[in-house]
């Protein structure tokens, strides 16, 4: 589905990851681990960019959510399927939301714990609520692959587990960056550790001892 062989990935002009060998196969749930600035986001962005070209059936939860603060939660979630309709339909829905679209989005909002928030503008939400909106957009988009950069970092631990499980149920293939190791072990079939600009390990979850993960975060 997605393959990098010996590639250098850069953020802007600086090369962040060199010599990347990485493959994502259908049905896998891969979590990237590493200190902040290690290059997880760079790998995710490169992966998304490549998938988007060849396999547009991909949902995304970007790092800063990529929400439009001036629009309502409903519209931000609707944007997940902006490619499902023509411009005319989308513009009409922007000015006067279709009841059918509201009915489609309400259950998604319920799933992420935002029921009743559809008409609120995103700029009035808390950090956690914004993140749930971004998750709702990805869920509403659906599809077979999800790419998410710290998709549950702003919600509390118990909620994070519930939401991660929900993502696991809805998407067949998942590539995430997480800082919470327990959460990573909970969802991942494979763990990828990134350290000092290189892939440090890339193994099935059960084969990664805690010591290896500990090494990632060592100075």
């Amino acid at each position: 589905m997605l393959t990098f062989t010996g590639e250098a990935l850069s953020y802007g002009r600086t090369t962040v990851l060199s010599d990347v060998d990485f493959t994502l196969r259908a049905g896998e749930r891969v979590v990237l681990l590493g200190r902040s600035g290690a290059g997880k986001s760079t790998l995710l962005n490169a992966g998304y960019a490549r998938l988007a070209r060849t396999f547009p059936d991909v949902a995304l939860v970007p790092q800063e959510h990529g929400l439009v603060p001036q629009l309502s939660v409903f519209h931000n979630v609707y944007m997940g399927r902006l490619d499902a309709h023509g411009a005319g339909y989308n513009l009409a829905n922007l000015i006067w939301p279709f009841p059918a679209e509201r009915r489609a989005i309400d259950p998604v909002l319920e799933t992420v714990g935002l029921d009743g928030f559809a008409r609120r503008t995103v700029e009035t939400l808390s950090g956690g609520q914004k993140q749930r909106t971004a998750l709702a957009r990805a869920i509403h988009r659906g599809g077979r692959v999800l790419i998410g950069d710290e998709p549950v970092s702003a919600v509390d631990e118990r909620q994070a587990g519930v939401l991660i499980d929900e993502l696991g149920r809805r998407f067949g293939t998942i590539l995430l960056a997480l800082h919470d190791v327990a959460l990573a072990r909970r969802i991942a079939t494979r763990l990828v550790g990134i350290r000092a600009g290189r892939i440090f390990f890339d193994r099935a979850t059960a084969d990664v001892p805690d010591d290896d993960i500990h090494d990632l975060y060592r100075a």
Partner: protein, 512 residues
């Protein structure tokens, strides 16, 4: 190209900030002998006295007619700005394309009044002329400013859109909402400019406040002139009170209805076709055989004579007026700015300073020049004074806004009065001051050209004469010269600004 990059700050750095100002002052001093600054009237003070008496006793006898003129002024402004903003709104996403950008630069480098006198040839003294004269240059300005707002907005939401979403949907969902508030604020500000433009269009015969002003001035009815000015200030000053967002559709419909009610003299059919295929074609090409070399030789002679006889003298006069006005504007700003700062001018002085600046900057430069011309008679003096005062007041106002909190954060034992200004305020604002002057430079050149319509021999004078003689082809060439001059000044100004002050300054300074 790359090799010149590092050189630039060094080269201009040689002049330094004070040096840059001295270059402009020196240039103005050198141009002074070429400027016709004589008093056209023998006794301007007597005329001024009559005006002052009239102004102090405003005559509202024709208030009924004036009220309708005020409505017309607002209606022209609303329709023109709405049309211009709509066009700019559509053009803005494509502004990065060279063709769109150059088109916008070209249409906005020609003043509303020039558009008006050109359009009168096609659509007569009609609603269409007035609305288009505002809408066309404003479209170019709106496109540029809207495009800048879109570029400055957060790009991440658009990057998070589904890969195959169409561009129009992405634009309206993930780009436009992020810049929408800025659009609205700017639109309101532009409407204020539109009211000024609309009033000034009266000077070429459209039925707005400028027309009433002109009429009463010609008859020496200074009391009535005062009434027109008061109505004008009330219209501008209260705009933010009556222009509320929910009422916008109502105002727009009302303005369209008012426009539709204007009776205009009928134009002969096919005026547009005639204008495009006959009037604007250079005379030697119109009648001659285009395959014949002699035709092109005649065209060359025609062009050379036009350039040497009208364009160059007009351009020279325009630049003389502009450079002198720029220095006057700088002086007015340097004197005007501190009069609005309380620790410098005192409470009463600051209030007075504010009022004086508001009046001079909300009176269009063309109107000021017109009034100054009535006082001093025809020479470059009224033009220089009017442009200097108006632009200086705008610079002073923007400086005041930028440094609004400056004097609040001064040390507690800071001096007061003139010493405070010289030692604490001026050194801090000087960079902004210079940048704002350079911003206004291009605008002053454009305005110097247009003031020729009042009879001062700048480019506008020659354009007007060509139009009067029904030689539209010549007017077009002269307008192209005006356009190129404005663009050249804009280019020099941008490079100089970049070397003085990194970063951006108030956009309104550029747009006002």
């Amino acid at each position: 190209m790359t090799s010149t990059e590092p050189e630039r700050p060094h080269r201009l750095g040689r002049f330094g900030r004070v040096g840059t100002a001295l270059v402009f002052v020196g240039l103005a001093a050198m141009l002074l002998p070429f400027a016709d600054l004589g008093l056209g009237r023998h006794d301007p003070w007597a005329e001024l006295g009559r005006m002052a008496t009239g102004f102090l006793s405003p005559d509202f006898t024709s208030i009924e007619a004036l009220r309708w003129t005020a409505v017309l002024t607002a209606a022209f402004a609303i329709c023109g700005v709405a049309l211009g903003a709509s066009a700019g709104f559509v053009l803005a996403p494509f502004y990065r394309h060279g063709m769109v950008r150059n088109l916008c630069i070209a249409i906005r480098s020609i003043h509303e009044l020039f558009w008006a006198i050109l359009l009168v040839q096609v659509t007569g003294l009609s609603a269409t002329t007035g609305v288009l004269a505002i809408a066309i240059p404003y479209a170019g300005i709106f496109a540029k400013v809207f495009a800048e707002y879109l570029d400055e907005a957060d790009a991440r939401p658009a990057a998070a859109m589904p890969p195959r979403a169409d561009l129009i949907s992405v634009h309206f969902y993930a780009r436009l909402p992020l810049a929408w508030r800025e659009f609205q604020t700017y639109l309101l500000y532009r409407l204020e400019c539109g009211l000024r433009s609309s009033a000034v269009l009266g000077f070429v015969g459209l039925p707005t406040l400028g027309f009433s002003l002109d009429t009463f001035f010609r008859q020496g009815m200074y009391g009535a002139v005062a009434a027109v000015l008061i109505i004008y200030y009330v219209l501008i000053g209260t705009m933010r009170l009556w222009m509320h967002r929910p009422l916008v559709p109502f105002y727009l419909l009302a303005a369209i209805a008012v426009m539709a009610s204007i009776a205009s003299p009928p134009m002969a059919p096919g005026a547009l076709a005639r204008f495009l295929t006959h009037d604007i074609v250079p005379a030697p090409l119109r009648s001659g055989d285009l395959g014949d070399f002699a035709t092109w030789a005649r065209f060359g002679d025609w062009l050379a004579a036009l350039l040497a006889g009208q364009a160059l003298p007009g351009l020279a006069a325009t630049l003389v007026v502009a450079q002198l006005a720029l220095v006057v504007a700088g002086l007015v700003a340097l004197i005007g700015f501190p009069t609005t700062v309380r620790p410098v001018a005192g409470r009463l002085g600051a209030a007075f300073g504010h009022v004086a600046l508001v009046i001079t900057r909300s009176t269009p430069e063309y109107m000021l020049a017109y009034i100054a011309l009535q006082v001093f008679g025809p020479s470059m003096l009224p033009a220089v004074l009017a442009l200097g005062l108006h632009n200086g007041a705008i610079i002073a106002h923007l400086l005041g806004r930028q440094s609004a909190h400056l004097h609040e954060s001064l040390r507690p034992d800071a001096p007061r009065g003139i010493v405070l200004y010289a030692y604490e305020l001026l050194p801090r604002i000087y960079g902004s001051f210079l940048a704002l002057c350079l911003y206004r430079w291009e605008i002053i050149v454009r305005e110097s050209a247009i003031i020729g319509l009042l009879g001062i021999p700048t480019l506008g004078f020659h354009v007007d004469r060509a139009i009067q003689e029904i030689r539209v082809d010549r007017a077009i060439v002269l307008l192209i010269v005006t356009m190129l001059a404005t663009m050249a000044i804009d280019w020099v100004s941008r490079r100089t600004r970049a070397s003085i002050l990194p970063g951006r300054l108030g956009r309104n300074a550029a747009a006002e």
